[in-house]
């Protein structure tokens, strides 16, 4: 069988990989901001909860988390299809790392900015959303870019909980044809290409964030 014959099936897998990765990045970003802000602004109890979340998802292996949720969720009566489980676990994992990025960027906003906000009688929400976050988001972009690539790479693990993503398709074609060399070479190139596209997309987003088109102009500029 010619290697071009594999492409339709691999493409189908690649669309699943792309869907899962994008969904996990979006949900993960929301989780990252939620828990990252809680870490900084949440008070003792809420920030302790956020700390537990980040430590658990950063400290245990992603594959263990995937299998755990795959087998554990049905036991408590929540049965999702594997794709939803895969997306949620990937998102929670990325969210754990992302929350640390958000926390780091928020705590690196200079004290003078916060003092100025206070002098202007901004309340906590105004300070957070109009002063801290717009400056912090620019700082976060490179780290979030790396996290997005990392999520794409880790999404290959969902093939192990029977989701037909790119890696899964490659495995099934190999099991039929035994033509390992060309299948895995094509798969690696596909992942590399997707990473490059993702990188370009992140650059574009970063460009817009830097120009201040997404968030209101920060007070100091």
């Amino acid at each position: 069988m010619d290697w071009t014959a594999y492409l339709p099936m691999l493409w189908q897998g690649a669309t699943v990989t792309m869907t899962i990765t994008l969904a996990a990045i979006v949900v993960g970003t929301v989780l990252a901001f939620f828990f990252g802000i809680l870490r900084v602004e949440g008070g003792p109890i809420l920030s302790a909860i956020a700390l537990c979340y980040t430590e658990v998802f950063r400290g245990t292996s992603l594959l263990v988390q995937l299998f755990w949720f795959y087998y554990a969720l049905p036991l408590v009566g929540l049965s999702f299809d594997p794709i939803t489980t895969g997306i949620l676990v990937l998102a929670a994992h990325a969210g754990g790392y992302g929350a640390e990025i958000v926390r780091g960027a928020l705590s690196s906003v200079s004290v003078q900015q916060l003092e100025a906000a206070r002098a202007l009688n901004f309340n906590r929400f105004q300070t957070l959303f109009r002063i801290s976050l717009p400056q912090a988001v620019v700082e976060m972009m490179p780290a979030f870019g790396n996290l997005a690539i990392e999520t794409l790479k880790l999404s290959s693990l969902v093939s192990l909980i029977s989701i037909a993503d790119l890696t899964f398709s490659a495995q099934s074609i190999r099991n039929i044809t035994l033509d390992s060399t060309s299948i895995y070479s094509i798969t690696l190139v596909c992942y590399f290409a997707m990473s490059l596209v993702l990188m370009v997309a992140i650059r574009v987003i970063e460009h817009f964030v830097r120009r201040g088109n997404v968030f209101p102009r920060s007070a100091h500029s």
């Binding site: 430590e55 658990v56 950063r58 400290g59 245990t60 292996s61 992603l62 594959l63 263990v64 988390q65 299998f67 755990w68 087998y71 554990a72 036991l75 690539i149 794409l152 790479k153 880790l154 999404s155 290959s156 693990l157 093939s159 192990l160 890696t167 490659a170 495995q171 190999r174 390992s180 060399t181 895995y184 070479s185 798969t187 690696l188 992942y191 590399f192 990473s195 490059l196």
Partner: protein, 230 residues
Amino acid sequence: MMYGYEWDTTTWITYTTSILPIILIGLTVTLKAAAAGFSIALVLGLVFALLRRSRVKAISWTTAFIVEFLRDTPLLVQLFFLYYVLPDFGVVLPAFLTGALALGLQYAAYTSEVYRGGIEAIHYGQWEASTALNLTRAQTYRDIIIPQAIPRIVPAMGNYLVAMIKETPVLSVVTVLEMMGLANMIGERTFEYLVPLTLVGLIFLLLTLICSAGLHRLQQVLPKAGIPLR
């Protein structure tokens, strides 16, 4: 039963205590795989970093491409590639070595960037002094630059070691029986996945918390010993 240990699934406490010895055997495999993989990553990463700094454009660009490719493709697929493709070319390695090699290759791409940062952080005066002393480029790297660069990148390398420990469960897909593989196997036989998987998760959490505390300590000790970290 596995490795001579009988399991007892009557309550979760007896289940946990009865499978703990099996999981701990898996833990030694996990740590061995991480140690082997990290050794490969440390050596290969330095080679990549030096080749990347080569003055021959063809060499430095090829290395840059290889590093980028290794960094941007999943460990799992690289592992399958090595596991299934190498035998086609007559290289038959045990699964453990294939796994360690895959971990090593992926992390060599990461460590090479750390080495590069460490080498570039050395003041250019050191290079000028070496030139003045008539040292060759190789001598300068060996005796001047690398000995100064290595102590300051220790914490960054430590972070990658912790990350690598957490990625070793991937090796279970090529039949390396580390913690996670054993937990899955116990689950398959007893139909009780939750306890073994939770146990493995907790052991990973404990491992990473200990390692992070150690690294934190290291970051405080090193500057006091006169080694700048940046």
